[in-house]
Amino acid sequence: MTTKRHEQVGLTDAQVLDMYYYMLLARKIDERQWLLNRAGKVPFVISCQGQEAAQVGAAFALRKGKDYLCPYYRDLGVVLVFGQTARDCMLSAFAKAEDPNSGGRQMPGHFGGKKWNILTGSSPVTTQVPHAVGIALAGKMQKKDFVVYTSFGEGSSNQGDFHEGANFAGVHKLPVIFFCENNKYAISVPLKKQLACESVADRAIGYGFPGVSVDGNDPIEVYRVMKEAVERARSGGGPTLIEAVMYRLVPHSSDDDDRTYRTREEVEEAKKKDPILLFGQYLKEVGLMDENKEQDLLARVQMEVDEATEYAENAPYPAPESTLTHVYGE
């Protein structure tokens, strides 16, 4: 039998099975949203496919209900671990009043929810990075021991807000994890046209804190480096930049056509390293999952997604005149 790598990083059998569940749930919600989009039922989808291992691995190293998230639009796996449900995501996809992120005001993927410590996000990329630094600064001022996770793509690591935020956090040694999900493409523009350095992680040295690059298809490895970063942050050691390297398996969004900028061969090759496939294999190799268990889990996830879709589809829209509310505090 293969060595149980997860035990070496402090993850229990139950935890890795749970991780697999969240990865699968994220994938199945995502796939359903594409179907709904192609059927004309939801206007827009932005995907997490191919990034679930990194997202779930990272989120498992955080403390739900205590640590803060400033996620970017692909972080479905992260917000699910922090408490959002398939129903919440579908309510957002259908833009219904009950959508906990925004009451149907924002496109899907614009996560937020005070009850989960998830800061509301926007569409201009990387603006969330200084916010994460600000939450961490507030925590330090109030002598709290939470850490703040913020994520972004490799293209976004070119934005001023990444550099300004990272520098501020470095100077003040703030408990922030800068989590870059390098999926190789910023819409159509490949990595080599985005960065001149070898790795996004190389950028950390300029800000005086460690930068680590990790295989984003391996949730156990991501968990391990995240755990180290979280412990360093919590003990006053300051921020860490983590680059999780993976591949975006689908187009940028439902409005994109990736055939215009990358070959099918390249995508097919990447699919062989699909993190859900690899992690499923690992769980089987270490004897934690067999065909039956896998089918049971799949059926459970499908049921959740079905229920969520039906609920969200039938849920009421916001009242049109509610467009005028929540501009200022009462």
């Binding site: 803060y68 400033c70 959508d99 906990p100 992120n101 925004s102 009451g103 005001r105 924002q106 614009h110 937020g112 929810g113 005070k114 800061l119 509301t120 926007s122 569409s123 201009p124 603006t127 990075v129 200084p130 916010h131 994460a132 630094v133 600000g134 939450i135 961490a136 600064l137 507030a138 925590g139 001022m141 001023g160 807000d161 300004e164 935020g165 520098n167 501020f168 100077v171 509310t325 929540h326 501009v327 200022y328 505090g329």
Partner: protein, 327 residues
């Protein structure tokens, strides 16, 4: 009651709010040991320490963006932008983030940040230390834009801004800092954001202004009174959202309106004020609405004659007021 300068009123407001609420803190460039390049934060690091008076790295988007994160968490940050001209790198944070947090989260999150910025010219500041940038922000719902003209208003409105649950851009005319003095109570008081203030009662013409030019209007009104013309002067104080009721009332009172601001004319705050009057009390008017503003050029030149040409002054205002009165 003590007579103090405009800038001392600003400092007093911050000191009082920091004593009152431990969540209030300041962040910006040179705000710490230097006490700010204009000295608005002088003495505060000594009293509150470097944890609450933070000398930030030189990066405006982070000053505002970090402030936004802290505000969303529950703090009451006062972010200082050294000159309003340098607010541009932070505009994405102000407009896309601070202004929209409450709305986009359906009321779940909100952002009680105060962003202070000295604006305006007349100090040999040239193009990039003289600008009036308020019009860039006065069509952004979710933001409040305040520009007081007196020390009394500055203290009361800054305290209100810090306590406000929404983002407030607080523009301080830098020429007012040491030029304008006035009575300011030692005790705690706040003034309502969103309310204009009649600074002089009059019956013949109405003059609407804010910031430094408000004082030019008052001085001109004084002279005009000697000619037997009585000017009613309204200080907008809040530039967004505008106090439409007070504007219409002041306009209807005399039927002749002059709007004065240092910012350039086209698309300036005065354009919106004129539109409010046109919508609400056109038939109370006895003359076309008149605007006296900075010229529509990119910014204020350095060379003294050019700066003087750009700037308004009491004489220019007096001339415009007299012309309107005789219409």
């Amino acid at each position: 009651m003590a007579v103090i300068s405009f800038i001392d009123a600003i400092t007093m407001a911050m000191r009082e709010e920091m004593r009152r609420d431990p969540n209030v803190f300041i962040l910006g460039e040179d705000v710490g040991v230097r006490g700010g390049v204009f000295r608005a934060t002088v003495g505060l690091i000594e009293e509150f320490g470097e944890e609450r008076v933070i000398d930030t790295p030189l990066a405006e988007s982070a000053i505002v963006g970090v402030g936004i994160g802290a505000a969303a968490y529950g703090m009451r940050p006062i972010a200082e932008i050294q000159f309003a001209d340098f607010i541009m790198p932070a505009v994405n944070q102000i407009v896309s983030e601070a202004a929209k947090m409450r709305y986009r989260s359906n009321g779940d999150w909100f952002c009680p940040i105060t962003i202070r910025a000295p604006f305006g010219g007349g100090v040999h500041g040239a193009l990039y230390h003289s600008q009036s940038v308020e019009a860039l922000f006065t069509n952004v719902p979710g933001l409040k834009v305040v520009a007081p003209s007196t020390p009394y208003d500055a203290k009361g409105l800054l305290k209100a801004a810090i306590r406000d649950d929404d983002p407030v851009l607080f523009f301080e005319h830098k020429r007012c800092y040491r030029l304008i003095k006035g009575e300011v109570p030692e005790e705690d008081y706040v003034l309502p954001i969103g309310k204009a203030d009649v600074k002089r009662e009059g019956t013949d013409i109405t003059v609407i202004s804010y910031g430094l030019t408000l004082h030019f209007c008052l001085q001109a009104a004084e002279k005009l009174a000697e000619e037997g013309i009585s000017a009613h002067v309204l200080d907008l104080r809040t530039l967004y959202p505008l106090d439409k009721e007070a504007i219409a009332e002041a306009a209807a009172k005399t039927g002749k309106v002059l709007i004065v601001h240092e910012d350039n004319k086209e698309g300036g705050v005065g354009a919106e004020v004129a539109a409010v009057i046109a919508e609400q009390c056109l038939f109370d008017l006895d003359a076309p609405i008149k605007r006296l503003c900075g010229p529509d050029v990119p910014a204020m030149p350095y060379s003294p004659p050019m700066e003087k040409f750009f700037m308004l002054n009491p004489d220019k205002v007096l001339e415009a007021m007299r012309e309107l009165a005789h219409f």
